[in-house]
Structures are given as C-alpha cells and as structure tokens.
C-alpha cells in the first residue's frame, strides 16, 4: 500500500513545464535526473550515491536523432546501487539486484538525452545493441517515428513509465529509456507527443516460441505517453541487431 501511495504521489508531483535552460553545475544535473526519473531524494533506500561530470556525448544508437545528439556537451550522471523496490513477490525481490543508472543531460538545453539502467553483473549472452539505423528501420515498419528530445517536464515519471510498460524490468540486463517527441501512425494513430520510449534488453523473452533465437525475443520496447501514462504501443519485441 505504501508503494502504491508513493506511486500516486510521484505521478501528481510532476506538472507540465519546460526543462529548457542550461545546466551549469553537477548538483543541478543530479537534481534534474532525480526529478525526471522519479528517484526523488526522499527515496534514498532505492539508490546509493550520485555523481555527475561534464562529458562529450557520443551516440550511435538513438533511432532517428542519433546524428543530432552525437558530439553534444552533456552532463553524465551516475547513480549506483539502484533497486526498483516495486511491489513484488519474494522471487521478484530476489531478481531486484543492484543496478547502475547512467543519465546524459544536454548541458545547454537541459533535455534528457538518454538514461540507461544496467545490471552490474556482466552478461556474455547479451548481444550488441542495435545501431540507430537498425532500430529506425524496425520502428518505421510499425509506423513509429521519433522527432526530437522532449522539452516539457513529464507528467509521468520514468519509473512509473517502466512500471506501466507491462514488461519485466527486473529481469532486464539493460533498460534504455529515451524521453522524446514521438508519433505513431498505424491503425490507431497518435499525434506527436512526449513519450517515454522504454527499451529492455536481455530479460524475460516476450514470446515462448523457442524456435526463434532468444535475442529476437528478449529485446522489447513499449511506449508510454508521458502526459497521461497510457500505453501507446507494445510491449513488442525489437529492435534487435542484425547478427551475422
């Protein structure tokens, strides 16, 4: 019950507004990440320490906008010892191993460029991440388009978006999250809007079909409307890399 109330509070805490504006100090960068993700400071038990440093951001994997992001000046924020702490069974709690959050914020605009949540243990079975081109081709086939990084403060936190995804974040070896302006043009179309694009890699597969290679089934994404928390698409497998 406590977690449910926390979740509701976290949703209500976020109100529309712009994130635009330069980030000039490590403290500002950390605060931005904690606010946007939902890891507010009163949830200290869910994470360890945070650090931030100014870096040049290199990107070859963000579909549609990789070339625009590559080479930007960014704050890289590191949060270690993170646990989801979701309502969970005993078995699920065992899966909630410590993870590391890495977030990159454009230092000039303050926009979230990418957030990753990665299990600390390496996994040799995890195949490489698909390139931006590979991902883009896959997304376009279902009518998905990413236009740009989103600017407004999301009404739904990243952690709530992950919960709403109907996938299995605790098992994912890596979760990549983009906060972007997105449009879906399929049978049910959605106009351009800010979304959490949640991409999980290396966890429980989405399909039990064992004659399909695991990497095609354990790369899963879903799209959450960042304004109201609705599930816009998925979970759906892919994008996954084209392996030789």
């Amino acid at each position: 019950m406590k977690n449910v109330l926390t979740n509701i509070a976290m949703v209500l805490l976020f109100v529309a507004g712009t994130m635009a504006g330069p980030i000039t100090t490590p403290e500002q960068a950390i605060d931005r990440v904690l606010d946007v993700t939902g890891l507010s400071r009163d949830l200290k038990s869910q994470r360890g320490s945070e650090t931030a440093e100014l870096v040049t951001y290199h990107d070859s994997t963000t579909p549609f906008i990789s070339h625009e992001l590559d080479g930007s000046s960014a704050w890289k924020v590191l949060v270690d010892g993170f646990k989801f702490g979701m309502d969970a069974t005993e078995e699920q709690r065992e899966l909630d191993v410590p993870k590391t959050i890495e977030a990159w914020i454009d230092s000039e605009t303050g926009k979230i460029m990418k957030i990753t949540i990665r299990q600390n243990e390496s996994d040799s079975d995890l195949v490489r991440q698909p390139t931006a081109e590979e991902s883009q081709r896959r997304l376009q086939r279902a009518g998905e388009t990413i236009f740009s990084l989103a600017e407004n403060v999301p009404s739904v936190s990243m952690m709530n978006a992950i919960r709403l995804c109907k996938a299995h974040p605790l098992t994912a070896k890596e979760i990549i999250i983009w906060y972007v302006e997105y449009q879906m043009t399929n049978c049910t179309s959605y106009s351009k809007r800010p979304v959490w694009f949640v991409f999980m890699r290396g966890g429980y597969p989405i399909s039990p079909r064992e004659d399909v290679p695991l990497y095609m089934r354990n790369h899963i994404h879903c799209v959450i409307d960042a304004t109201d928390g609705s599930l816009m698409f998925g979970p759906v497998n892919g994008p996954y890399p084209k392996l030789e």
């Binding site: 069974t89 078995e91 699920q92 065992e94 899966l95 376009q140 086939r141 279902a142 009518g143 109907k166 299995h168 605790l170 098992t171 399929n186 049978c187 049910t188 429980y204 989405i206 399909s207 039990p208 079909r209 004659d211 399909v212 095609m216 089934r217 879903c222 609705s230 599930l231 816009m232 698409f233 998925g234 979970p235 759906v236 497998n237 892919g238 084209k242 392996l243």
Partner: protein, 372 residues
Amino acid sequence: MSILKLLPIPLLALLIITGCDNNTGEPDNTPTIYDSGSMAEDCCGVIYYQSVSGNSPGAYVYMVLEYQGRAVSYGNAVWVEGEYTELLSVSSAYVNLPSEELFKKVYMTTEPEDIGFTEKSHIARDAYPVGMALADTGCSACCTKTLRRYAIWAIKKGLDSLTGVSAEIETHWNMLCPDYEQHALSAAWVGLQNDLPPATFTNFVQMGYMTWRRPGYGTDSLVYVEFRGEEDSADYWHIDCSNEIPPPYEGDFHHYKSEVNSSNGTVMFWYDGSNIYNISAPWWSGRTCRYPSWRCEIDGRESDMGGTSQDPLYFNDCEYRQLNGSYQWANFGEIDDWIQATPQLYDPDQWGISYAHHSLSMWDNYPLGTVP
C-alpha cells in the same frame, strides 16, 4: 571362461551398445554412444539420459522413445559442431507402456524443421531397449516438457495462395500445469503458415490469445499477434496487444483475423472487425501462404487444452481467403483437411475435437483437478 565375463560392466555395456550399430552407409558425423545411459525420476515418470560424442560438421542431435516403431516421446534437440560430447535426455512421462517394449533411439538432422520428424532424420544408432522400469504415471503436479508443444488443430490442405484466415474464438483462460518453476502456456489462435505441424520454423502469420507463465514472474493473459518473414528467418514480430485490447472475459467470443497483403508486403491484424495493426513486411511482397490453421496449443503436457468436454472451446465462423478472392467458409471435412490432436499413443482420447461445416470445438478430457 568367456572373455566377456572379465570385462568391467561399463565396458561390457559399451560393447553391447556399439554392437547395435548399423554403421553401414552412415556418414562420419554419426555420434558414438559411449555409455549405457542412466535414469532419474521425473515428477511424472523417468528421464533417461544418454551420452553421445563425436565430430560433427554441424547437426542437431536428439533422442526419442519408440514403441513398436513409433515415436512416443521426444527429447530436446542439441546442436553439435566439431568435437562434442553431449548428454541427451528423453522423458517417459505419460508413456504408459511396458518398458521392455520401449526403445531409445538417437537421431540427427541438419535441418531444424526436420527435428521431430524421425522419418526425415538420420538414425544415428539402432534402437536398443530401455530395459528399466517406468514410474507410475498418475501425476498431475508437474509440467511434462517434450520437444514439441501439444496441439489440437484443423488445417485445410490442398490449398495455396492464401492471404487471410479468421474465426470467432471463444475465450477460455485455462489453468496451467502447476509446477511454478516451469514455463507453461495455453493458447488459441488462427494463422497462416507455410509448413505443417510440428515444424514451426518457417514463416507464419497468426493472432490469438494466450495464458503464459514465466517462472518467477507470474502469469500473463493477453491477446497477441505474431509473424515471421525473410528468407533467413531473421525477421520476427510478437506484439502484446495490451495497448489496444484488454484481456477478453471468460466465455466471450471475439473475432480474430490475420492477413497478408502480398501486393505491398504488409501483414495485417483485426480484432472484432477493427484493424489493429498493419506492419510493413517487405518479404511478404508477392508471397502467400499454403495452409490456414485454427488451433489450440499448450506447453507443459498437463496444462489444460481448449475447453472441457462439457464446455468445449469453440471456433465459429471459420473462414479463409485466397489471393484475389473473397473470404469463404472453411467447410471442414473435405478430403484433404487435417483435423486432429497431437497423437498420444497412451491415450488417444486425451484431447477431443469436433467439427461441423465452419465450426470447431476443442476440449481437454482431463482438465486439471481430474484424474487421467
């Protein structure tokens, strides 16, 4: 004194087994069976193990139990390449047959779609008797796994150039076998496919619903779509339709339709008349399917299939469409139709199927909670 009596038992066993070798004409990659195997009790029977080794340019190896020349249980296939040693296994669960008439056989094949088709696989070694007692099969608290999933299906054969299939399917959220450490599912779907069961490796388009348990993470009940394209089978899609369709209520009927638009290479899905997804699939441009299929399917032998004999799961208004044609009734019962359940030698009546005109009903005679 015979020299055989001086040999240690394992070596004697080795000689006996290799004495069964039908080496004539077999390729060099034939595996060597180098011990007499072992056994362990499964929750519903016995798992037989067998070590094999050899040098292979690349092939799948698997073991089956056979009774009077028919495969009655399949073990999982293992890919072997180069110098290898593998431990194969096969379970006797629910094979309620006299052990002295059961034989283990090891098969090899290079084609994944031939796995389970013993007539297409190379017999690595002649059969040899199991020679071990089988356990009591009266068990339901497990999830017997085999190479194949179990299914009840209706397939129209003798057709070609198929581009669409549909049916109104009754919703039955079935119970899954109760071993929570095992994957299990129960599903019902309509689909187009380019091969016949049990092979599922080639291309297909399907839509239906499933209950699926992932160990440690609970059970999902959902409507889903799935398809596969491309020559190298590297294009696979599975969409959980949760964003469009909430899980339907038990007992409700909903209309499912899967289509291929071969003129522009698009795969399309409908639910209750609403087109929910169109996915670009260039490989399907200019291509069609060979078989329409209406099917219930389970993973985990004890999971409930379809409905019950008192309350079957119905597929109504079954239709298919061929290229440039309109939808036509399935009209089950034509000479080339294939309507059956996965054969179960020990009990051919475990699962039932009935048909009339354009409807099917499918059921499990021994749903969980009853005694087989």
